[in-house]
Symmetry: C2
């Protein structure tokens, strides 16, 4: 599956992913009102508003981008109707030939991780027929429980040509609290990176492994070290834009082949119309603002990479 | 909310929680067939079978136990219909006055953790009306992202009288891979325990904090140390029974007041009818086997605690 992501990145000439993290504060009022009228002032109404908002953004940007990253928390917060819209969003994006990275950050003990892995990346067999419950292409995975929490994901990836991105160094301010602590002369995140190499070694798909890593754009120095440490690992880089990461910070996340990293922006794209950088679009043209923000992000990264 | 859990533990005289982790292999064939006939050989059919199985077990044991711990992975693996049954299970258990610990192991950066916290423990306001999307009483939380991943859960707990259990030392064989690594002279899990004390300090509810910890029964020595280190923290102890933890291992997870720990058993209770320890029940009487397994588990723990 990493090869499919690479093919998409190359054909769109864009190592970027749009984070579909639909905070209801981003959803234009007229969409919200329409859905509340149609479905009620309830979780279903708000979830359907999120769906229309997502769909409009995907329609406006899909030809420019290789992948999307829906953040499941932003759907789960609306209960069952929200989870249903998450699934609908995954399916719609796949119908547009986008690679879908489910930002689910799951991780548990063996048999439980297996259930998450089958549910998100694999399939369930019922009376001889296979059903793919969520059917993402990639999922993000939390490594705190160690190998037997991650291995079931790797096995499901191998069986189904899917991939994972393991949290190594996250983009948030307090990520260092545990991740940066020094163990045997190097920070915890480097120990996790060693394991990512190990887990990914027999899960190769072309030049890169289907086991990737998450390293925040907000930590460019660590990104440089981790890039060198994990040469066959694709790095998913959150934290660009709204969280403070800039194009110039990103250079060292890439390998010399120009590949090896994919940069996520969520709010900066999907809520562009609310930003002072995109005046004049307004609520009516929110999806056009998102399209312009994608074009600008591509330019920023290209120029940072000296292309 | 921890006080409500304690009240339930005292009134049922049972520091135990039943893990509702419905692996489809546990579900009796006649329930499965009935649901597949009624709903189809699909995710909905299997999810409805899980529901009937759960309900029968809850009906058979609710008068004996203070709490249940549904493991959301086991529902999420069946996609949207599975998540709907998770929610139905939460609601049903609450209607039986059981405390519900959602074993969700979520954890993300600030705003995303907030979405998880509101979705599972809090509420969403829509047009002035509040909706509690999943409405568990407690949730389990992964600490790898540090304070700003956990704090939103703590804030939601404070606002809604709910609680969390933070993963400190998990029950699985490879939990030591990262959690046991030595940082400044003590293992990572002790550093996490220090943070649990800090996060829980202004979230007290009687003698204990609404911020609890997860420590596996399979690591009794570490349990002893962590018990002393976190005197005001309730410990959720998985790993009893099928994972290898025994009653005698559990003594040191408790405080001198006889409180401070709640022991989980999942498979050992809900799939008791499949165990050689409970011959003669068979598929037809699976719920009765679960009831007997609860009675036996209570006895085992009581005698280990010298009661």
């Amino acid at each position: 599956m990493i090869q499919k992501l690479i093919d998409n990145i190359v054909s769109k000439d864009a190592p970027i992913v749009v984070g579909l993290d639909p905070n209801p504060k981003f959803v234009p009022m007229d969409i919200m009102s329409e859905c509340i009228e149609a479905y009620g002032a309830n979780l279903k109404g708000i979830a359907e508003a999120v769906w229309l908002y997502n769909k409009a953004i995907v329609d406006a940007v899909y030809d420019l981008i290789p992948a999307v990253k829906p953040q499941i928390a932003m759907y789960e917060q609306f209960g069952v109707p929200g989870v249903e819209v998450f699934k609908r969003t995954v399916d719609y994006c796949k119908s547009k030939d986008l690679v879908v990275i489910g930002d689910i950050k799951r991780g548990d003990i063996g048999s439980t991780s297996q259930a998450y892995a089958e549910g998100h990346l694999g399939s369930i067999e019922i009376c001889g027929q296979k059903f793919a419950p969520f059917d993402e292409d990639f999922a993000t995975v939390n490594p705190y429980l160690g190998t037997d929490g991650v291995k079931p994901f790797v096995d499901v990836c191998k069986a189904n040509d899917r991939g994972i991105f393991v949290l190594v160094k996250t983009s948030n301010p307090s990520s260092g609290e545990f991740q940066d602590r020094i163990i045997d002369g190097k920070p915890l995140y480097e120990h996790v990176a060693d394991k990512v190499n190990e887990w990914g070694a027999d899960c190769m798909d072309g030049e890169y492994s289907n086991v990737g890593a998450v390293v925040g754009a907000t930590y460019p120095e660590q990104g440089k070290i981790l890039r060198e440490k994990m040469p066959k690992t694709f790095i998913l880089v959150p934290g660009y834009g709204a969280q403070g990461g800039k194009g110039a910070d990103l250079v060292h996340f890439f390998n010399k082949d120009g590949l090896g990293a994919i940069i996520n922006s969520s709010r900066g794209i999907i809520a562009a119309y609310q930003s002072p950088n995109y005046p004049g679009y307004g609520e009516k043209n929110f999806a056009d603002a998102s399209r312009q923000a994608v074009i600008d992000m591509k330019e920023d990264i290209k120029s940072a990479l000296g292309k």
